[in-house]
């Protein structure tokens, strides 16, 4: 069994417009794990993913993929190295059809996607811009998996979706992990995220404040307090 974590984040610090977004953030994701990052809006979760994926450069710290430093690489190189990132609000390519979006990857990516998301197979010739919210999220996740990445990163996969669709999305994520893909997921929807994740980290104001096995964190009162201020 390989000991090197698929993804390691080491002492990351990042600023935007002068404001401190991340201070001293460290975490890791081991192979075939589903790790979730929880936290309220503004906690820095999206900033963290932005740095990992290469869209922003940190002011200090390092990001490693299977032990190899990727911090200095441009975003498209990081993607080719094996990071499949699906940003928030499911951005897709509205003027391409579902089929064309999937054809951006290697040949068998399309087949695998249709097995995982049969809905998308039905809609394969529809323009991506006209899909429903849930379908767009599925497509966005599929796009993140196009190049058989070493790790998939999903940013708030449930945001803006009706509760019924949310459970479908989380089911799909669990299936993806069961098929051997490593996943890092940022979620505001803490209870459900903790039900399907193996481990979790909690972020507040740009720092990691708690971490541990998902089952243990789910019992924790502080989580409830942190979200509702009770």
């Amino acid at each position: 069994m390989n000991d090197v974590p698929v993804l390691s984040v080491i002492n990351l610090q990042s600023r935007h417009d002068g404001a401190l977004k991340l201070s001293d953030v460290s975490l890791h994701v081991a192979q075939k794990e589903l790790v979730s990052i929880l936290g309220a809006n503004g906690a820095g979760k999206t900033s963290l993913l932005g740095v990992i994926s290469g869209l922003f450069k940190p002011s200090a710290g390092e990001v490693q993929l299977e032990g190899r430093s990727i911090t200095a690489l441009p975003a498209h190189e990081i993607a080719k190295a094996g990071v499949g990132f699906a940003p928030q609000n499911h951005p897709i390519f509205p003027s391409l059809t579902v089929d064309e979006c999937l054809a951006l990857g290697a040949g068998n990516a399309k087949l695998e996607t249709f097995v995982l998301f049969p809905n998308l197979k039905i809609k394969r010739n529809q323009l991506a811009g006209f899909l429903s919210g849930g379908e767009r999220q599925m497509l966005s996740m599929a796009i993140a998996m196009l190049n058989s990445p070493k790790i998939c990163i999903f940013d708030e996969p449930s945001s803006g979706l009706a509760p019924r669709i949310v459970s479908q999305v989380f089911e799909a994520i669990r299936v993806i992990v069961d098929n051997g893909v490593t996943v890092l997921m940022v979620e505001q929807n803490a209870r459900t995220a903790l039900k399907i994740a193996d481990r979790a980290y909690v972020m507040e104001h740009g720092r990691i404040t708690m971490s541990g096995k998902a089952a243990e964190l789910a019992e924790n009162d502080h989580i409830r307090r942190a979200y509702l201020g009770l």
Partner: protein, 287 residues
Amino acid sequence: MQLFLQQAINGVMLGGMFSLMSIGLTMMFGIMKTANFAYGALYMIGGYAAFWASSLLGTPYWLSLLIAFVVGFGMGIAVEVIGFRRFRGNEDATLVFGLGVALVARGGSVLAWGSQTRYIPTSFAAYHLGPFILPSARIWAALASVVIVLAVYLIVVRTKWGRVIRAVADNSERAQLVGFDTSFQYALVAGLATGLSAVACVFLIPVFSLSPTVDDSALYTAMTIVILGGLGSIVGCGAGGFIIGVVTAFSFGYLNSTIAPMVPLLLLLIVLAVRPEGLFGRRERAV
């Protein structure tokens, strides 16, 4: 009646070449969101490249065309890498950069090559079809233009690279996250766009001749076509090209040559006032 048909034929041929002239501009708008004010100037220099190749090196017509394309391609990449890339997102700076390049190119061309009009000799004769005169250079140029525009359309719509380019145009950030080097793609598109415009310039030499002032009319004709058709739409570019070609031919055929240029301009102003997004363009959401 004869005048009508002759102008109709002229208009259609002109339209094909106009489409080729404008396709680069619309591609830069659509894919790179760049308003390239240097387009006319680079178009003109591409034409000069062909002229000098032909007159100094004696290259045959097809080779001069190729040289024009290559020179245009190089210039396109240069302006993208040196300027437009840097000012992406800043509309005003993009505009000013384009204007600056256009001024330097225009002034420089006159200083270097003089302002007299030039022609590239072709060995084509004219066909006579009944009462109509069809200069064969124009026919071949028009046909070639249509073929090229069609080819570009098919490439963009059917090939893998076309999909990549459309993805980059839709959402360049997400395209990066799928592993595509958007900077490289932008440079490629800029090169292609400028190269094609250079070829169009050579095709249009028999119609408009070649001189340093050609950049102005090329720029505003291309702008008219692109806005009429809808920024970024290749189909719109084709439609717009033919509409403007026919309108131009009829205006020059029926009105005196001082007033005739007014018609396409009025058309453009009306389009801007009434439906700025053009025939096939997408309306921007004003949030």
